[in-house]
Symmetry: C2
Subunit: 772 residues, 2 copies
């Protein structure tokens, strides 16, 4: 597939935090890497967007505590009561995360409702005005302009202020939970842009949903609340300082993502499962409960405030942003002989999903090549908005599917258009509505509400619109469009089935097939199974369909995986993220740590010269982040033996606080640092260039003993790759030291060394590493 | 609390597999252990049943692959296709597990239905016969005798044939998934006794359910199917040989447990969550899907066969053994102001649960002390059966709560007794029924079906009956009795609420409160949250109550945990099982591997004399299971440096196959073993005593190089306990080698070394280890 190298949003604006890569190569500026085959792979110098490359741009998160002396002293000082308080504050934070995520969802929902309501109202009046007298082209222009205007605001926000807020944010959160630091992904500004952007793009009538972005929003809320401060607002509340490290923060971000799912779909259990399926590797019961609590709070808050907004306080019937409506128990029964049909629909969903993903893949490649300037991105978004309006209008205009208005007036904006009085245009219920409402109509409208041609046309046009829309520079999710496409062809499937069998009564309810179709299509695109099943079950409020939905999702996944990966994985690969999958490739037992590791390794002595440290940290060609510590020259131990591991971030803090002694005073009266100093600097450690070290200071010595992690995890160099992988993945490591028989450092394994290997068509393949 | 030391079922019949303990002490027969405080703790010689002791009886499972040369060679030889086939056979095995578990559930259900139906029919006729003429005492005797007869069969099966089949089996499966080898727990014979036992005890009218045992049954099925052979039946199908090791087997047992839950409650997602909550530490996406598949298959099979049995083929409305009936959407709405009430009920559930657990704890202590002979156990079970019948009869007899027979005849066995014609005795719907049906009646019978006094009396008597029953030597679960107790007081709560508020209409549906009460009581006893929420939601077929059930379960857990642990944990502790919790005690950072580890360690040389190996393995006072391997005298490496780890089981296989060379031929032409030889011996490795080694052979040498694991996980001795714990738990290790700075073996950490530490009331406490 194409090898593209241009700038793109994920990593294009990441100058301020750049600390470089984890790989500890010391080959200097020529940056040549010998792989185990001995081939010389030169590193492309531009940002690669190719699934055969791994970018060195992305730093890793460290889910292993650095258990240095300071940390241990603090832990030992803490009483049992202290730990209880910590536990309570974890619960408080999770409660807050749920509360705030629910509130954000509530705000998005209400604003979107009103803006979209306003828009549809205006257009509807206009249509009614011009239907009789002719001149509907004016309506079309009005509609297109309104849509484009909304989208203009949304895409300008994203393209110019915070490109990382584009899309649903789910791939980014997946990466974060996997342990990859995607720059700026959990910042307050990102949240602001995301919320504004998603409101504009949904109100702008794009084929998008507001559900995916909720997951990202929840994660940002979690990352913010749990730190007890905002760097952007320069406000430190001096609380939750204990949580200022990757390990704790990750747990809260999991909770935030779960709260987001919960708010989006009214699915608290589904949210927990989503977090676990996408992120967690080490499952911890207490953590799961906290995540669950956050999810619960989030859906409850949303529910509560929406019930007040809808003037039915106390009626908790709006569990999520999307409301599929209740399926009554009577109408939802299914029978054994329908199961093959469901499986068949799953296969269709898998095929259509794969098609969607392939088309979107090529589109993304095209975008990376040609549409990489913000103003072009904004123009494309506006174009899509206008085209969406035009297609919708054309479809409605040429449709002659008139249905009688029911007594219950279930349609929000029934368009009469050229229908008789007391009838409405059925195509308009699908197009002239927010996608959520369209899905609900497809699920619940009585049999006969749509004719097959309407549904067929709608599926076809919406499929391409949604495919074009995903990846635009707007904040928006792909869940709802997928559901809508699936619901449309699913309902079509049900209608055709009823027509073929002609017995009628058994296949009476096309809404059932709409639901199954929606699940199949969504499963075919995103390829989640367990969490998606639970989300669908919770969102429909009925467990009867649990089994069919599972079967459908599994089939869709198996069929889809045969052709291409899931949409999120495609986008992660296109950004060359060093993503660690669940297990090492099956056939990788032939590799050992010796072949996988990076070597030689830059090590520091236990007592190291400040000048050396500054020089190594400043070396832009290597940019190491973790350094094994070995005994110094005068030390008792044999040289080369591992005695600790110190991180770039720790060294930066030490340098910033001038924690060193003059060479003359041989034994350490150096300034004593607190853990607090490290926590205050977390997570935006200054770059080494910003720290001034004078020539005198360069001659001083720094004692690393109490700051390094004295017990880093190590593996012997004969360890097989799957074994290394398991240790690395299960413990969420960032650096794994490889030692020889005498405990001497021989190499260092980092995320990229493991993520490089993957199973291709011709067995084990190795990806190239690319300098940014 | 009491310190009791008598024999009890869990471990009393474990002579054949005894390979002893993991702890590598070499202190000889005096078995004295120095703890870090320097106190000498002598080991009691009897089986301890005290939660302050850890038994050395239990072996650990090894969830870390021994990646020796044989294994690596096999893996490297295998093609990508081979791995695909393996993956497919994993799916096939999971499918089979689900199928068989579903079938077993089906058989249990049908047999119980018929036996209980027969019994109630006979008793009912008898009652009707004697109600008019007097002489109901004959009925009582008939009832009591029938009950006792059933229970006699059930408890004889358990007490004399397989004591491990007693109870629900959930604690045992928890232990297995945690990594503790509970002897005989996954054998075919256990399954047979379990199925027979549960049928008898439910048909015998005890206050028990048939759901808990399904989890155990599923686990046994999984352990059997996945190995492709039955040692009990001496039948080897020569398939699935790759799965013959702890790592793979554990995954399948997880799937089996999930399938069991799924069959029991019709809750496939709940089953997956149960397995994960109780067992898994390392979450793997593919594994989760397979577990999900097994769950799905299981509920589907049960459903399908029950639909045939009920002569409605194809109607999939019986997802689980228990059928709570559908809550219609209209009747189940709840309101915001009811939430405090729900939480209040959760607290009541927590209190009552704690009371239940404390009473059962004392009862268990009493049983261990005085009722440890099988015939006494059988007699106790029969006594309980007779008392249950008597109490039920008395309650029904003295109750004068008559209700009119509804037109729908919803009661299966309506007892008229002293009521007028067209009326039935309301107490009898609770007592004169299988507990599952009683729960359903409490949930769904219309308001007014029960009067408060009936419910109060029923709750009180059933509470004590259930408490007395749990722990009897019969196969039975505590889920259904807990639900029944809770449903009764929940419904009472609802009725009283309606009476107090007098407005009537809002609190109209006491069935809702019955459901909440049931959840609260069950949560208060077993203390599960996430999985139980999902199970309840799936079993009731309605997600509306998701949030209230969650809140209730959380409250019940918090309140209950304040007083005493969950019922399963109590029983695990009473058996002194070295159970590893999720995290190390919070205040344990002050301990390091040096203080925790066992030392000195018995090491073998890479090329070791057979006599030495036999002697060490035969040393009954130590009974080590894992031995670090160090270079021999003539080796290049410095002595003492770790170069591998070998297991007792591997050495046994080597000795059995006489894999050694005479001393004369200095370099190794020793027989070549295959991985197959180890797999054939798994998991019942013969004891060392059964292997005859002649005096000549004792002088031979054995080269361990290709059989040992050359890259065991190691930690430096300064590593803090939480760090050691995390590594050990996350990777499911059995032995963790502690090394010094020069890579020399200084100690070995095993499960007991970590499980010993727990947070007591006065901070960190250390449990004593007790020789069996």
């Amino acid at each position: 597939m194409a090898n593209v190298s241009k700038k793109v949003s994920w990593s294009s604006r990441d100058e301020d935090t750049a600390q470089g890569e984890d790989t500890p190569l010391l080959n200097g500026a020529s940056a040549v890497r010998y792989t185990r085959q001995g081939a010389v792979l030169s590193r492309p110098k531009e940002i690669p967007h190719n699934e055969k490359l791994l970018s060195l741009k992305y730093e890793s998160l460290d889910y292993d505590n650095s258990e240095n002396q300071l940390f241990l002293e603090e832990e030992r000082r803490m009483s049992q009561m202290g730990f209880k308080c910590l536990e309570i504050s974890r619960w408080v934070v999770c409660g807050l995360i749920g509360l705030l995520t629910g509130l954000i969802a509530c705000v998005i929902d209400i604003v979107v409702e009103n803006l979209a309501g306003f828009k549809y109202h205006v257009v509807k009046q206009n249509i009614e005005k011009f239907t009789e007298v002719g001149g509907l082209s004016i309506t079309l222009i009005l509609w297109a302009v309104l849509n484009s205007a909304f989208v203009l605001v949304g895409s300008v926000l994203v393209a110019f202020f915070e490109p990382i807020a584009a899309g649903s944010g789910i791939p980014q959160i997946k990466c974060y939970l996997n342990g990859v630091k995607v720059p700026r992904v959990v910042r307050l500004k990102t949240l602001m842009v995301k919320v504004g952007g998603v409101i504009c793009s949904v109100a702008g009538g794009l084929a998008v949903g507001k559900e995916g972005p909720m997951i990202h929003s929840g994660a940002v809320v979690a990352a913010g609340v749990s730190q007890g401060r905002s760097t952007s607002l320069k406000k430190d509340f001096k609380i939750f300082e204990y949580f200022r490290r990757d390990t704790e923060k990750r747990d809260f971000v999991s909770a935030g993502a779960a709260a987001g799912v919960s708010a989006a779909f009214g699915a608290p259990v589904g949210g927990v499962l989503f977090s676990l399926e996408e992120g967690a590797s080490f499952w911890n019961q207490m953590l799961t409960w906290r995540i669950f609590f956050a999810s619960m709070m989030s859906t409850f808050t949303l529910n509560f405030f929406l019930s007040i907004y809808n003037e039915k306080p106390g009626d908790l019937s709006n569990p999520g942003l999307i409301n599929f409506g209740r399926f009554d128990s009577d109408s939802v029964e299914y029978n054994l002989y329908e199961i093959p049909l469901f499986i068949c629909m799953g296969a269709i969903g898998g095929l259509l999903g794969a098609l969607f993903n392939v088309l979107n893949y090529w589109l993304t490649i095209f975008r990376i090549r040609y549409i990489h300037r913000p103003c072009l991105q904004v123009m494309e978004a506006m174009l899509v908005a206008a085209v969406t309006a035009t297609v919708s209008f054309t479809m409605i205009y040429f449709s002659n599917d008139c249905q009688p208005l029911g007594p219950d007036q279930s349609e929000e904006y029934p368009l009469q258009l050229f229908c008789d009085d007391g009838e409405y245009n059925s195509m308009a219920t699908a197009f002239f509505n927010t996608p959520e409402r369209s899905v609900r109509s497809l699920f619940h409208n009585p049999p006969g509400s749509y004719n097959p041609l309407t549904l067929g046309m709608f599926t076809l046009s919406y499929f391409f619109l949604a495919c074009w829309t995903y990846g635009l520079t707007v904040s928006a999710g792909v869940f709802i469009p997928s559901l809508l496409i699936g619901a449309a062809w699913g309902r079509l499937f049900g209608i055709l089935l009823a027509a073929i069998t002609s017995s009628g009564s058994i296949w009476a309810d096309p809404g059932k097939y709409a639901l199954i179709g929606a699940a199949a299509q969504l499963g075919g695109i995103v390829r989640m199974t367990l969490s998606l099943t639970v989300i669908m079950v919770e969102a429909t409020g009925n467990v009867t369909y649990g089994l069919p939905i599972m079967l459908v999702l599994m089939t869709a996944k198996i069929v889809g995986d045969y052709f291409v990966e899931g949409l999120y994985d495609i986008h992660i690969k296109l950004h060359s993220v060093p993503f660690l999958h669940w297990e090492a490739p099956a056939t990788s037992h032939s590799l050992t740590a010796r072949e996988v590791m990076s070597s030689p390794v830059t090590c520091f002595s236990r007592i190291e010269k400040v000048g050396t440290i500054v020089d190594i940290l400043s070396n832009t060609s290597t940019n190491h982040n973790g350094f094994p510590v070995v005994p110094g020259v005068g030390d008792d131990n044999e040289p080369g033996r591992i005695c600790g591991l110190i991180l770039r971030s720790q060294l930066i803090v030490l340098l910033k606080h001038k924690v060193f002694v003059e060479r003359a005073r041989s034994r350490l009266q150096q300034r004593r640092l607190q853990l607090k100093d490290f926590r205050d600097a977390y997570p935006r450690f200054p770059p080494i260039q910003s720290i001034h070290v004078s020539q005198d200071e360069r001659e001083c010595m720094m004692d690393l003993t109490q700051f390094m992690n004295p017990t880093p995890y190590t593996v012997p160099q004969e360890t097989s790759l799957p074994r290394v992988f398991k240790l690395f993945r299960a413990l969420g490591l960032r650096h794994l030291v490889v030692i020889d028989h005498e405990n001497r450092v021989v190499g260092l394994v980092t995320r990229k060394d493991l993520a490089r290997y993957h199973l291709g068509k011709h067995g084990l393949e190795e990806m190239q590493l690319a300098q940014t």
